[in-house]
Symmetry: C2
Subunit: 362 residues, 2 copies
C-alpha cells in the first residue's frame, strides 16, 4: 500500500478478530450508516442511493455520520453488495420502499453471455476504493474501517430474482436445473469478489466482511454444494493475493445469515470471524464453532424497539452468553429505517459498560 | 360426532403419527391443492380465493383434485389460516401475485377493540366444518383428511403487518413494546384456534396441523415467550375439549417453520408430529426430538424443479436419513405455483418405492 494513513487509536475490533485480549468488547452495527439517522436521510434526499455509493466524498460522509454520534469501535464503508453485478454490466435500481430491482435479470444461462466477464474491477469499482482511502484518512484512526462484498450465491440470487422474493425459487431453480451454469456464474462472481476485497484492503480496509445474506434459503444440501465452496475459495484467494502483493493480511468475517445448519463448516472455512444472526443461541454457536474463531453478533434488530432499560438488559445477557473473549458485539442483521438513534446508543453504552474488563485480568 | 363416515381404507398417516408400524411411509404435500394443478387454476379462474374457502362444495372439489391424480396417503382440507382473523372481523383480501392483504391491519393495541372478541367460531366458520364433513364423505375412506389452523403468533403477525414483509418488524415491535397487549391478542387467538381445531375434528378431520409459519423470524427469546406457550396451550386445550365432548382424540402436528432453535421444546409440546422445514437435517432432528414423536418433511420444495431421476434420488436419501419409522414424507414447505405436477408424482412414487417394508419385518 502506498497510502500513509493516520495511526489507529482504537484497535479493539482487530484484536478481538485475532483472538487477542481486549479491555472491553468492540461494538458496531451492521447498516450503521443508514436511514434511521436523520443526517443520512438528509444526504439521501439530495442524492440517489447509488450516486452516494459512486461519489467517494458522499460515501465517506455517510460512513462517518454514525461515528460522530456514537462511540463505535468500527466503521464500515458505505457501499452496496450489488456494485458487483453492476460492474458485470447489469442495471440495478434502488426502488424506494421496495429495495433493489434489476430491470433485466438473468432468466436462462444464455443470459450470462450479456455479462461483461472481462470487467476490470479496479476500474469499474474504482469509486469504492477511492471512498475507502478517503474515509480511512478522514476517520483519523478513531477506529478501523471495514470493507465488504456480497458472497457469490447471494449475488447470483439477486441477479436471477431481480427483486424481492420470499422463496428465491427462480434462483434455486438454476441450482437444480442448471448446476453447471450455476457453478460457472458462481465462479465468475467469486473471482470478481476476490479482486474487490483485495482492492478494498489495498485501499485501506482493515477488515473485510463477506455477506452471504441468502444462505438460509438454501438448506444444507445446496449450501454445501453451491455456497460454502465459494466462501472458502474467497478466503484462500484473498490471502494468496495479499501475500503476492506483499500486503499485510487483514481479518475476514463471514456472515452467512440463517445458515444455522453449517456453523461447524463456517468455523472451518478460513475466516477469523463468524457473524451470527439472532436465531443462533450464543452458547450453541461457541460450542459448535470452537475456540479458534471470533463470533460477531447477534442482537435481534427488533430488540432496539424495546425501552433503553430493556436494551441494557439485552446487552448484559449477550455479554453473559458470549463472554468477553473473541466476541464482537453487533446486531444479528442490519439497522432498520424506523430505529430510534438513541436506542442504538443505549446498546453501545451497555455493551461497553458490561464488557469492561478489570485491568488486572488482561 | 353424529356423522357416519365411510370406513378408512388407508390409515398409514394415522399409524405413522401414532408411532405404529407401517408397510410403507405415508406421503402428502403441503399445499397439494394449489395453483400448480391446472384443474385448480380452472376452479380459481371462476371463483375468487376466499369464495372457494367459503363454499363447501368448491373447497371439497379442490381438496379432492390432487387425490384424483396422485397416490397420496393424506388429504388436507382446502382453507386458509387467515379465516380466523376474518372471523374476528378483519377484512382479508387475496391479492393476485402478492398474497394476502389486510386493508386495515392492527396498528396499535387500541385497534384490538375493533376485533369481534365474542365471535362464535362455530357460526362464522361453519363453512369450514361443512367443507370438512362433505370432503370426508366424498373421499370415501381413500385416505385421512387433515384439518389445520395458523398458530397465534403467525396470525398476529399477519394482522399487524397487513401484507408481505421480510422483517416482520411491525409485529415484532408489538412484542417488544406492548408485551401485555401482545399476550392478550395471542391468548384471544389461541382460544379461537382451539375452538376451530376442535370443530374441524368434530366435523371429521382425522389429524390437525398447526402452522407457525413465522416462527423463524422470532429467534429463541421471543419464540419461547410469545409462541411456544400458546402452541403448548393449544395442544392441551384441544385434548381437554375432545375429552369433554367424548370425541376420540386425533393426532396433532406442529409445523414451526425455521424454528431450528426450538426442536427439543417442540418435541415436548404435546404434538404427535413435528413437521420440519428443509433447513433441518433429518438425523439432527431425530437426535434432538427423540424417539417419541413422528417427524414430517422435509424435501426442499425447489428440489421438485430437478429432473424426475434426481427427485427419485432425493426421495431415496430422505428415506435413508429419516428411516421408515415415525416419519411422514412431505415437503419442507408448500407446493409452488410453477411446480410441474409430474415431478410431484415422481416424488410420491419414489417415497413409496424406497420405503416399502418387507412384510416379514412388520
Amino acid at each position: 500500500m502506498d497510502h500513509k494513513f493516520p495511526p489507529l487509536k482504537n484497535d479493539l475490533l482487530l484484536r478481538a478478530a485475532r483472538g487477542e485480549p481486549v479491555e472491553r468488547v468492540p461494538v458496531w452495527a451492521m447498516r450503521q450508516a443508514g436511514r434511521y439517522l436523520p443526517e443520512f436521510k438528509a444526504t439521501r434526499a439530495e442524492h440517489e442511493f447509488f450516486k452516494v455509493c459512486r461519489t467517494p466524498e458522499l460515501a465517506c460522509e455517510v460512513t462517518l455520520q454514525p461515528l460522530r454520534r456514537y462511540d463505535f469501535d468500527a466503521s464500515i464503508i458505505f457501499s452496496d453488495i450489488l456494485v458487483i453485478p453492476q460492474a458485470l454490466g447489469m442495471t440495478v435500481e434502488m426502488v424506494p420502499g421496495k429495495g433493489p430491482s434489476f430491470p433485466e435479470p438473468l432468466v436462462t444461462p444464455e443470459d450470462m453471455e450479456k455479462l461483461d466477464t472481462k470487467c476490470k474491477v479496479a476500474e469499474s469499482l474504482s469509486y469504492v476504493y477511492e471512498a475507502v482511502t478517503l474515509t480511512r484518512m478522514k476517520i483519523d484512526g478513531q477506529c478501523p474501517l471495514i470493507g465488504f462484498a456480497g458472497a457469490p450465491w447471494t449475488l447470483m440470487s439477486y441477479m436471477i430474482e431481480g427483486g424481492g422474493t420470499k422463496t428465491h425459487s427462480k434462483a434455486k431453480k438454476w441450482l437444480y436445473c442448471y448446476p453447471e451454469a450455476s457453478h460457472k456464474l458462481l465462479q465468475l462472481l467469486a473471482d470478481v469478489i476476490v479482486d474487490h476485497l483485495v482492492l478494498q484492503i489495498c485501499a485501506g480496509a482493515q477488515l473485510v466482511q463477506l455477506f452471504e445474506s441468502h444462505a438460509g434459503i438454501l438448506g444444507p444440501n445446496l449450501f454445501y454444494k453451491f455456497a460454502l465452496p465459494y466462501i472458502k475459495y474467497i478466503s484462500v484467494k484473498v490471502r494468496e493475493a495479499l501475500t503476492a502483493k506483499e500486503v499485510e493480511h487483514v481479518p475476514m468475517t463471514i456472515f452467512a445469515k440463517d445458515a444455522h445448519f453449517a456453523l461447524e463448516e463456517l468455523a472451518d472455512s478460513g475466516y477469523e470471524v463468524i457473524s451470527l444472526d439472532w436465531t443462533i443461541k450464543p452458547k450453541h454457536a461457541r460450542s459448535r464453532c470452537g475456540e479458534n474463531v471470533t463470533l460477531q453478533g447477534n442482537l435481534d434488530p427488533c430488540a432496539l424497539y424495546a425501552s433503553k432499560e430493556e436494551i441494557g438488559e439485552f446487552a448484559k445477557e449477550l455479554v453473559h452468553s458470549f463472554g468477553t473473549k473473541r466476541w464482537i458485539a453487533n446486531l444479528g442483521h442490519g439497522m432498520y429505517p424506523d430505529h430510534d438513534p438513541e436506542h442504538l446508543e443505549a446498546f453501545i453504552e451497555a455493551i461497553h459498560k458490561y464488557s469492561q474488563q478489570p485491568s488486572d485480568e488482561l
